[in-house]
Symmetry: C2
């Protein structure tokens, strides 16, 4: 049993109950306890040596740990409320370092009116392990899932993609306000936050919605960092491939009826003049991702790696 088979087995027959509207397989679980609000429930973990190092500024570790969960609440158009923080402390931990991790976490919590209501401190001798759970709410019927994309929808993405590892993965801004504005003013059909990379996360929307996508290569918003990295080395991936496949952009990817696209772009420019919004393609029938450029259409494989002939 490899890791993918394991996760498939673990998530196949999990117990459920009458409160569950959506369990595994979306950005957050959606829970219904009656009343006018639904509850969004999400956990995420970062581990020293995997997601950060001893050299990472501790405030940014704290920021990242909580902001990752905030980004998932954003992807459902929710409002975050309360977080629990578990920290596994390594042997001979540096208390000032840990305290600064909490400072970074508290700063982003305050910014988004999230309460940190407790947690657990335990021992994990070899490395720091941080697990955060976030509870949020969304007005009943206003939650945006991954499975609502329709053939003909326009596909939009916020910000610029790729090269997040240079810095953005540590200090990105969760798109809570943007997602709430979208949900309030438009019928967004499907949404996800970009953690695995544009191609991989688009794949999640397509699978959940049983549709395919056609992406216009020239419309992909490529970050300056991705362009710089591509220029630096002849072995680096091309910038547009980085924009498609680099992880941890934490931007919003969503689909909307194409008739609403112009109105959306107009409204967005007024509301969020500093944040780019790009229409990168459209939802089509089938189940594949194709990339169009001047030379024609090219297929993406299932894992998100580009195979251009």
């Amino acid at each position: 049993m490899n890791e993918f088979e394991l996760i498939a087995r673990l998530t196949k027959s999990l117990p459920t109950n009458e409160n569950v509207l959506a369990g595994t397989g979306d950005d957050c679980a959606v829970l219904d306890f009656g009343g006018d609000k639904l509850f969004l429930f999400k956990t995420d973990a970062i581990v020293e040596g995997i997601h950060f190092t001893k050299e990472t500024p501790p405030e940014k570790i704290g920021h990242k740990a909580l902001a990752r969960c905030l980004s998932d609440i954003a992807a459902m158009a929710g409002t975050p409320s309360a977080a629990l923080v578990t920290i596994g402390l390594s042997k001979n931990f540096d208390a000032e370092f840990i305290a600064k991790i909490y400072d970074g976490m508290s700063a982003v919590a305050k910014k988004f009116n999230v309460a940190i209501v407790g947690g657990e401190t335990t021992t994990n001798p070899e490395r720091i392990f941080i697990s955060i759970t976030l509870l949020g709410t969304v007005a009943r019927g206003k939650q945006i899932l991954r499975g609502g994309a329709k053939i003909g929808d326009a596909i939009f993405v916020t910000g610029e993609l790729g090269g997040s590892i240079a810095e953005k993965h540590l200090d990105f801004e969760p798109r809570i306000a943007e997602a709430n504005w979208l949900a309030e003013h438009f019928a967004i059909h499907a949404m996800i936050d970009l953690s695995d990379g544009l191609a991989g996360d688009l794949r999640h929307i397509l699978n959940a919605s049983n549709v395919g996508a056609e992406i216009l290569k020239s419309a992909i918003p490529i970050s300056r960092e991705a362009k710089l990295a591509a220029k630096k080395s002849s072995t680096a991936k091309p910038a547009f491939v980085a924009a498609l496949t680099d992880g941890e952009d934490f931007e919003l990817l969503f689909t909307i009826a194409s008739k609403d696209a112009v109105k959306l772009l107009d409204g967005w420019k007024k509301k969020f003049p500093k944040l780019r919004l790009s229409c990168i393609g459209k939802i089509v029938s089938g189940d594949s991702i194709t990339i169009r450029d001047k030379s024609g259409s090219h297929k993406f494989n299932a894992h998100g790696y580009v195979h251009f002939a």
Copy 2:
């Protein structure tokens, strides 16, 4: 900064918001989103080499991981609903072992109608790290906190205490049904679940309630395992000290007006004939724990260790 100073610093100035009725410092956080239900929010973690070993039966690891959180929901007289599970997988993890951990978790989840609605799988190279967050509910006004004990209250404890390490710490039964029955039929003033040991957890109630306690030594329900361990070795702690200070009993400790004590004991015997309920003493003024035996009264120190003259 040592670990206690660190935790004090970490929890001192955590951000809060309008949803928080109780944050750190009780068994669960209590959250208010309007409506007739309050939300109970709790996280707990267990780590290989600390809370279990490679030799521990994996189903029992899963049971313990979730049941610890269930016990905290019980301590507030709540009803558990949904759990998120984060697991840090060690290098070369044994997939069957992990799958069996989930089986144990799923079994106890089903028993208490808890949905497992997702989680996170990540890497923690040296050891398995399991963090679980549980969301529950309690009818508004029915939550039982630690801070409500009143002078003159009778102090009760369920089950038998001490020696949990022999087996019970792995397969204990969270007292959800018992706590709900108590809250429904009696005015319970304060309640906690026993994770740190009777003396340590009683101390939490006393501190939160600004009172002291007098415990009758002969009334402490001592487990068979604690008695056996004490007999086995002349250096082992006396059985009643084990009952006072061993951790992980996961029984309920609560206080109730002494006028209700007899009615409670009668009702309990009918409802839960197989589970012992003991009145072990009373709440008094002051802030200390005293133990009474034939020779008189003895003071307990602040950390729960017994100092008998």
